[in-house]
């Protein structure tokens, strides 16, 4: 990795670590560890209502019982505490900001969780996992080492960086533009897919899955193959020799193609939940279909539209794959952060730009959560509304369907070109059929592919486990800070991958968390990037399961662990499978965060594609992308097979019988 040349990064080799109990120089680890140890030891003495147990024999027996049965996370926590203290003793560096704050935050959390566990004992297991998770996230705020805690440095860095305002303008302008267009296209698709009587709506639905299985550079590469210097349309058909697609036009097109399906998903769910009785009421009140659509349906969709718009902005700001191959001279924040580290070796600049990007993403996320969270006209009763939704006015329906069909054909063409691109010698110059790229891929690319699949394979069960445990905590237990926990867990969705990437390389570049360049940090990054996927599917599944089922199990003598194993897990199996598959898919296609974390030893497929595309070797890049698309499609198909079968066997509709 080139960044090792950076003067700012001091790394320790294992030789520097020696056990020197007398010279404990890092109070952070020691304080953190001792705090953990103390709170761990205190668990038995904190009663369920928060008052201390006495030390009578009955209480001790009860404590042992409770520990064995109700606090599965206890031993995990104890092990963590011991490890932390050991790390503090082995540590020889000067105090390290993130580690210190991580330790303090971790201890506070453990105290909070312990107290919470007093109220709801079985919350403790997931709670301990959560404590781990949040400690790591806090540590990841290694950004603060770069510039965050020194405002003067932050301001100076940005002042010295001449292109700052242009880059910021580019990022925001692009995001808003793509937001508007994607939302409109998403709306068109949502209406066509949910309200049309036509059969092609099934096709439109599968369209929404495309971005999930698409490796990050595919759309960009396809656009280059069609509109680039040697592009099929620009060069072969029109005879133009232009690089005009690089920059704003190509980027806007690529991002719209990538994010319109996201907008579609959001808007479609809102369209579906509009109570048909409202439209029927309007129709019986003498309004025609057009008037009803304009005056009733559309206003009801407004929160959904705003939601889709803001989500698309977050995605566009965070996007790394498209700008890196299509950006040209049009710089945006995410790529500038990358080039600050990889090209300029300037970590301070990277961190400062990262903070700016993070601020805008979080602001949009907050807007989306707080402002829109309350503004839903949709009433959730749990009862499927009766009545059929109103069909679209005829003219509108035909218009929408033609547009969507055209868009789908265009998208499909892009994918076909990507696949085709892997089979020609040199695109636009020598179009002879060849298997050369695939042979080269078999020779040189298999290591990275193996690494990718293995690491994604390790991280996806972890992601699903952590996500579903957190979902369990959020759904099943009322406790102080529950809302905050739910919010925090969703936050990692809003943090752009590039920011996480630089945060990680800074936070984990110092002992005892010397992780840069290891597989561990890749797995950690996958897990925390994808956790919201697991949490969301977990919350959706658990919310459907009557809590009395677990209570019934417990009153029938089952322990917490038995209840989870024999009642909860079987009932949420579909959610577990989908969390597994989606986190696997997202890990394989990840690029923005991991681009900073890969090393020669642990190379990932997406980074290989990036290197090839950056060097103009589109043949190899597209053939590699094709292989990834096939793997993703297989994974999704497997999931449908597993979940579909389960659903056929009775599914969740019986869940709770309430």
């Amino acid at each position: 990795m080139r960044r090792e040349a950076s003067p700012n990064v001091s790394r320790l080799t294992p030789h520097d670590l020696r056990c020197d109990v007398t010279a404990v120089r890092n109070p952070a680890c020691l304080v953190g560890g001792l705090g953990l140890l103390l709170t761990t030891a205190a668990v038995p003495f904190i009663a369920r209502e928060g008052q201390a147990f006495g030390l009578g024999r009955a209480h001790l027996r009860l404590t042992a019982l409770a520990l064995a049965d109700q606090f599965p996370g206890f031993w995990l926590l104890a092990a963590l505490a011991v490890a932390w203290v050991a790390a503090g003793l082995l540590q020889e560096e000067r105090p390290h900001g993130p580690a210190l704050w991580g330790g303090v935050a971790g201890c506070l959390l453990v105290v909070w969780l312990t107290w919470m566990a007093g109220v709801k004992p079985y919350a403790f297991g997931p709670g301990a996992v959560l404590a781990l998770a949040i400690c790591l996230v806090v540590l990841a705020s290694g950004l603060s080492r770069g510039a965050g805690l020194r405002p003067a440095l932050f301001v100076d860095t940005l002042r010295n960086y001449k292109a700052f305002w242009r880059v910021l303008g580019n990022s925001l302008g692009l995001a808003v533009f793509v937001g508007v267009i994607s939302t409109l296209i998403g709306l068109a698709f949502a209406l066509a897919a949910t309200r049309s009587r036509s059969r092609i709506t099934v096709l439109l639905r599968s369209f929404s899955l495309l971005p999930l299985i698409t490796p990050p550079f595919v759309v960009g590469l396809a656009i280059i193959l069609l509109f680039g210097l040697q592009g099929f349309i620009t060069s072969t058909l029109l005879g133009l020799k232009t690089r005009g697609i690089f920059g704003f036009p190509g980027l806007a097109l690529a991002q719209t193609l990538s994010f319109a399906p996201v907008a579609f998903l959001v808007i479609a769910s809102v369209v579906e939940s509009v109570n048909p009785a409202l439209e029927e009421a309007s129709l019986t009140l003498r309004a025609g279909p057009w008037e009803t659509f304009r005056k009733v349906t559309l206003p009801l969709l407004r929160p959904g539209l705003a939601n889709a718009f803001l989500l698309t902005i977050i995605e566009s700001l965070a996007d790394f794959g498209n700008p890196i191959v299509l950006g040209g001279e049009f710089e945006v924040l995410s790529t500038e952060i990358y080039f600050s580290i990889i090209g300029r070796f300037d970590q301070t600049l990277a961190a400062s730009l990262g903070i700016v990007l993070l601020a805008f993403s979080l602001a949009t996320f907050l807007l989306q959560q707080c402002w829109l969270g309350e503004r839903s006209y949709v009433t959730v009763t749990g009862k499927p509304p009766s009545g059929k939704p109103m069909p679209l006015p005829r003219g509108l329906e035909i218009g929408l369907l033609s547009f969507c069909a055209a868009w789908c054909v265009f998208t499909l063409a892009l994918y076909l070109f990507v696949i085709y691109g892997g089979f020609v010698e040199i695109w636009g110059i020598n179009n002879a059929f060849t298997l050369r790229h695939y042979r080269q891929l078999l020779r040189d690319g298999m290591d990275a592919l193996n690494t990718t699949l293995i690491l994604a394979g390790i991280s996806s069960p972890l992601t699903a486990a952590v996500g579903i445990l957190l979902a369990y905590l959020v759904v099943r237990h009322q406790f102080p800070g529950r809302g905050a926990l739910e919010f925090t867990s969703m936050l990692s969705f809003a943090v752009p991958g590039t920011v996480i990437g630089i945060g990680y390389i800074m936070a984990f570049n110092q002992s005892p968390f010397l992780l840069t360049g290891t597989a561990t940090i890749l797995v950690i990054s996958f897990v925390f990037r994808n956790m919201p996927v697991g949490i969301r599917s977990g919350i959706a599944a658990l919310a459907q399961i009557d809590r009395a089922l677990e209570e019934a199990s417990v009153t029938l003598r089952a322990s917490f662990a038995t209840t989870i194993r024999r009642i909860v897990l079987p009932l949420i199996r579909p959610a577990i499978i989908s969390a597994l598959v989606f986190s696997f898919v997202r890990s394989v296609t990840a690029i923005s965060a991991v681009v900073f974390l890969v090393s020669a030893k642990w190379q990932l497929s997406t980074k290989v594609i990036l290197d090839q595309a950056e060097n103009g070797r589109y043949g190899l890049a597209t053939s590699y992308s094709t292989v990834l698309i096939v793997i993703m499609a297989l994974a999704i198909a497997l999931m449908y097979l597993l979940v579909g079968k389960r659903a056929a066997a009775g599914g969740l509709e019986g869940g709770g019988l309430a």
């Binding site: 089922l549 019934a552 417990v554 089952a558 024999r566 019988l657």
Partner: protein
């Protein structure tokens, strides 16, 4: 109470049990002793703390204050799976991914009983609740009444010291509800098992219970047998909650040896009473203990409204003391029509003086 001795049945004692949710005191110092083999009902409107109290006995809610004993042992802080208590839930809470047989066998399997023992016990208990032959079904393929029986069987098979019912019949239709409550009562008496039953339906409580605990805003309002609660309600809340009730102003003229002389309107009568101060009081008058006639003595009034209910007729009668509801089962003079001038005579067995005017 049943005379049959069941060695499993245990005494349950609540000692000043309290529970707070945030700012609200859901259960406020409830004390209660339930004898072995007794069925006690917690009765009250929603939000009165009856379900919370039941869940504290089950161990599903932590106990805020006070102590709970089952048998000889204190269980206040024990987790639910360490108490010898099972529960029939309002939603039945049958495990949807398990068959009827596996649902009932669940607890036995947790206890790692031998397969032969599980088979034997499950078949016996399913026969006991009248559900043989449906072991292989999925719970979602059962009717509401059948699900209810499976839920009861699943709780019974554990041979618990105490059996808890949390509004078990509220999801059934009226006819089935009546039949199921009789079956539950029969089963409970036959097995001689201690049971706590939560309901908001006073008719259900009266029909099924050895004793009823009427709860109001987290406190016990009165504890007594169905007859005691009906005949001698301790306060207006209990009187109103159990059966229909008129509350009328009256004059307490004398009290002695558990009897009181009172005057309601023009009528003087002697009724059984707790010791109360002489002076103005409110009396409870049950509608079925008022004789309505077109002539003779008594409180004068005019019929405002008539509802004919088949076996009886309900009259709303406007009098000087206010509006009075009268239920006439005998209907000696046929059904009277609205506007008729009538006289009301209060029968002593249905009149209870309550404290305060």
């Amino acid at each position: 109470m049943t005379g049959q001795a069941n060695p499993q049945a245990a005494r349950v004692v609540l000692e000043q049990v309290s529970k707070r949710f945030g700012q609200t005191l859901a259960v406020d110092q409830v004390s209660l002793a339930i004898e072995p083999g007794e069925l006690v009902t917690l009765l009250g409107p929603s939000g009165c703390g009856k379900t919370t109290t039941l869940r504290m006995v089950a161990g599903l809610e932590t106990v805020g204050g006070g102590r709970i004993f089952i048998g000889d042992a204190e269980v206040t802080h024990l987790p639910p799976n360490a108490r010898d208590v099972t529960m029939v839930f309002q939603s039945y809470a049958l495990f949807p991914h398990l068959s009827v047989f596996e649902n009932v066998a669940y607890g036995l399997r947790v206890l790692k009983r031998s397969e032969a023992e599980v088979q034997q016990a499950v078949r016996n208990v399913l026969a006991l609740v009248g559900m043989p032959g449906l072991e292989g079904r999925s719970p979602s393929a059962l009717s509401g009444g059948q699900q209810q029986r499976v839920a009861v069987a699943r709780a019974l098979v554990m041979q618990p010291k105490v059996l808890l019912f949390d509004e078990p019949l509220s999801n059934l239709d009226a006819k089935l509800r009546k039949r199921m409550r009789e079956e539950i009562r029969l089963l409970q008496q036959r097995l001689g098992i201690t049971a706590i039953y939560v309901t908001h339906d006073q008719a259900e409580a009266l029909a099924i219970s050895d004793r009823i605990v009427v709860m109001d805003r987290g406190r016990t309002s009165q504890i007594g047998s169905p007859l005691e609660l009906y005949k001698a309600p301790a306060n207006r809340f209990v009187a109103e909650f159990i059966g229909e009730a008129n509350f009328l102003p009256a004059q307490l003229e004398s009290v002695a040896d558990g009897w009181a002389g009172i005057r309601i309107g023009p009528q003087r009568l002697r009724v059984q009473s707790r010791p109360l101060a002489v002076g103005p009081v409110t009396v409870l008058a049950r509608p079925e203990a008022i004789r309505i006639q077109t002539g003779g003595e008594g409180l004068a009034g005019t019929i405002q409204k008539v509802s004919y209910l088949g076996s009886s007729a309900d009259y709303t009668v406007e009098t000087d003391l206010g509006s009075v509801l009268v239920t006439d089962y005998a209907m000696p003079g046929g059904v009277l029509s609205a506007g008729t001038a009538v006289r009301l005579e209060f029968l002593p067995h249905g009149v209870v003086p309550l404290s305060g005017p």
